[in-house]
């Protein structure tokens, strides 16, 4: 299983095509993201861009840790990292990502390997969608 490469998922030609945007659907709830905009702060979009950048860097290393934990059957580590990733995902509106992190935390102490791998695959797909959605939102804000 390869480590997630963030750069792969950045949009190459500016904002997403409306069709792609539709495909991404609910990867990131932008309403949630917009609640973090501070009307009292003149640099409101800068904070969200900064949060997106922090999330992408941090979540990428957490995804790698989750992959390693599933491969090595390190369930305590898996639960701790998934818990951590759940919090920041939910805060930035990546709701389905947060749900999948919660599902990983709910695994038994020795879950069937297929179950954990299935959840991991779903999380990897969702993470790609989230990265694309964040890349588009970031571009929109810095444009």
């Amino acid at each position: 299983m390869s480590q997630i490469q963030v750069t792969t998922y950045k949009t190459q030609e500016g904002l997403l095509h409306p069709k792609d945007r539709e495909l991404l659907g609910d990867a990131v709830d932008l309403d949630v993201l917009h609640t973090l905009d501070d009307p009292q702060n003149a640099d409101e979009s800068d904070l969200v861009v900064e949060l997106i950048d922090l999330y992408v860097a941090d979540a990428s290393s957490k995804m790698a840790a989750i992959q390693k934990a599933v491969r090595g059957a390190e369930w305590l580590l898996l639960k701790r990292v998934a818990h951590n990733l759940e919090g920041s995902s939910a805060t930035l509106g990546a709701k389905q990502m947060a749900v999948l992190c919660r599902d990983l935390q709910c695994l038994d102490s020795a879950p069937p390997i297929e179950r954990s791998r299935t959840l991991l695959s779903r999380l990897e797909v969702e993470f790609r969608r989230v990265l694309i959605a964040f890349a588009a939102e970031r571009e929109r804000r810095v444009a």
């Binding site: 609640t35 973090l36 905009d37 941090d58 701790r80 919090g87 920041s88 805060t91 509106g93």
Partner: protein, 132 residues
Amino acid sequence: MLSPATISSRRVLIADDDPVMRRLVSSIVEGEGFTAVAVADGREAFKILQSDSDFRAGIFDMMMPHLQGLDIIRHMRTEKRLMRVPVILITAESDFSLMSNSFTAGATAFLQKPFTTEQLRNVLRILPDRKS
């Protein structure tokens, strides 16, 4: 060491191992006119609190490496100089018993992730004054 009885501090100690949450909380705290002192885990927060009690409040993540939010609160409530510093606990858990344990341990407020800027701002505005 600064005396808690004579100071109305504008500093807020923030401990969260998640960089996104740390940055977000710091930004909201600073937007309310406080100075954010942000650290990446409970052990760092504990170290600071050993020699510095000049804080208007503490905002701690419940689950952190080395030392968890609840452990810091329990320590603070046994130290006279830290006893009255209000503490907000933040967690992704929605477990009511966890909330109850937090208040029993001495938490002042409990905020569940995800929260909005407005929610944390409101909690900061109603924090009790440590001198009262």
